[in-house]
Amino acid sequence: MSECADCAGCRPAAVAIFPSAAVKAVAVIGPPNSGKTTLFNRLTGLRQKVANFPGVTVEQHTGVAELAGGQSVELIDLPGVYSLSPHSEDEQVAYDVLTGRREDTPKPEAILLVLDSTNLRRHLMLAAPILALGLPTLIILNMADDLRNRGGTLDTKALSRELGAPVALVSARQDEGIEQVRDFLAGAMALPTPRSLPVLHDIPKCREWAGEVGSQADYRAPIAPKWTRRLDRVMLHPVAGPLVFAFVVILVFQSIFSYVTPLMDGVKWLFEVSGNWIATTLPPSLVRSLVVDGVWRGVGSVIVFLPQVLLLFLFIGILEDSGYLARAALIADRTMARFGLQGKSFIPLLSAYACAVPAILSTRTIENKRDRTATILIAPFMTCAARFPVYTLIIAAFLPNRQLLGFLSVRTVAMIGLYALGFVVAVLTARILKSSILKSGRTPFVLEMPAYRWPTVQSLGLRLLDRSKVFLRRAGTVILLVTVLLWTAAHVPYTHGHPPAIRDSLAGTLGRSIEPVIKPLGFDWKIGIGIITSFAARETIIATLGAIYGMDHPDSTSMDLQSALRHDLTPASAVALLIFFAFAMQCVSTVAVVRRETGGWKWPLAQFAYMSALAYGGAFLAAHLLRYV
């Protein structure tokens, strides 16, 4: 782009007029914490989708923005970056998209550059490489409300002259000034003609340039965010801080275990009622059995966890949008560092208590590749929601409903013990990994503390929609497929036109063939089939065992199923089964997600092997050591 630093008041010479229908793709880019996502949500609303840029672990959000007169424009949300020099995957992808080097994404015809107006001098650094690309650019100064409230000002016309591009002062969260963005997207777009540009890859020079541009625009920085400082005195207080943190964590757990029960019961009821309706409507046949016992049960077993997953992500969304999450990462950092991890691993590991699949996806915020891999590898050890009904069933079958010390239920103690077990193993694994194959120490831990803000209903709602789509798509389709396959395996081969007894079906044959391997653990072929099916999704063992024992509506509270288990398992082998479930990687969806997020089969296979070995070994030890108790 031009270096005409001494050209005063040069009018834009080149104007590219796009006929209205022709502007197809516009890129949205900006530094992290600039409110870019809020703006993107305002412009696209529900018309957005998420995918992965092929070949890299970077998310791609695209959406369609509606403009006046029925026109629409595709917006490509690029990752939050501070510059375009290719030093991280995010920056590389952003640069490649903007220069049209990516085959899967159309080259954008214009750019929306979103900057935080309360942090303008530093954020303007990104304007240099963006303007240098020579594409029509709108400089969006976001958070106008904060700027105003904190006494900051600037001359937008002067800024526009300096940068040779239009400038819009908006507040995405308050829906102020967004029509300027729509006007830009709809209208004729001029190529930018900045008065000067710095040497792009030289950070100090870029910052100097940004400072000068800011001065030319009479930028007066706002005063420090008072409320943020005040709140931080509590949130980071040596005593109050950890208390608030503990309170938040306890609240999260309380909701995903207690408060969510009515919702889960509601979902279960819905599925039962609809399942019965289907059963009465369809004539008794193979198809009916497939639909009711196979598909509906399979779908139901996943959807029943949706309330938990959503509630957890609602909490995380509130924590993230309000700005508290950064403080939580800070408080957790010291403890996490002792295990070889860092504060940013805390939220993914907390999420894994609902479901490891979205938890692993949320490790993207961890820049250090090795820390990220270590977090991904230990996430499945966190006792996910799917293990809960299995634990409940076995504990209820083998432990009496007695109280210890008058108030602690024996069963609750056992449950807490299992949760602790998963946690301890995760932590030990992390230490081992981080002191050997994933040893790092290079990337410094650096975390930007955003100002506290009230989360908006719109962004929370869109995030929940996004997360539920991910959960249903990833977890749901795989589990559904495998459940149907297993139903099929349990219903073939037909002999004389009749379905086989479960013992003689394909599934039964499989169970019996692995019996020698699992006999040392105290399991028989029936448990064997249950274990095989649970590799699709842990909780399917309950439905499978129910089917094997010939029950109609088996669930974790079914007394018949409990007594059947007492008949086929000794207490020692019951413990072995619990430990097996605590350690084994029994979730096809998790394997799929790990493969995608680590970019290959090496890690998911290694993880599977490690967890399987641990599960077998642990169960073996339990079965033998406890035999004499």
Binding site: Y82, S83, S85, H87, T118, N119, R121, R122, M125, I203, P204, R207, A221, A224, T228, D232, R233, L236, H237, P238, V239, G241, P242, A326, L330, I331, D333, R334, A337, G343, R442, T443, P444, F445, V446, L447, E448, M449
Partner: protein, 95 residues
């Protein structure tokens, strides 16, 4: 030049951000880290010549939040040790 000395004879001058306590201001002189790691810090505002104010730390003392170039950035002690400051730049201690 202000001194942080408190042990009778020896004058211990703060050499890096790690030595600052809450409310202390200083001017950054250099970043003693490999280029790759330094970049991240520079992009966030830790540039030679920048004024840095030490803020709160997490309970336990590590990491600590620093106010620099209009933002608050948290950094671990091991990194703060590598962010050298001007000795004469120890401007003031806020009450």
């Amino acid at each position: 030049m202000q001194l942080s000395g408190n042990k009778g004879g020896a004058e211990i001058l703060p050499a890096s951000l790690m030595d600052l306590r809450r409310g202390d201001e200083a001017v950054l002189s250099e970043i003693d880290l490999p280029v790759e790691d330094a970049r991240r810090l520079m992009e966030l505002g830790f540039l030679p010549g920048a004024r840095v104010v030490a803020g709160q730390s997490a309970p336990g003392g590590d990491p600590r939040v620093f106010q620099v170039d209009g933002s608050e950035i948290a950094v671990r002690r091991e990194t703060a040790r590598r962010l050298k400051i001007h000795h004469e730049g120890r401007l003031s201690r806020k009450a």
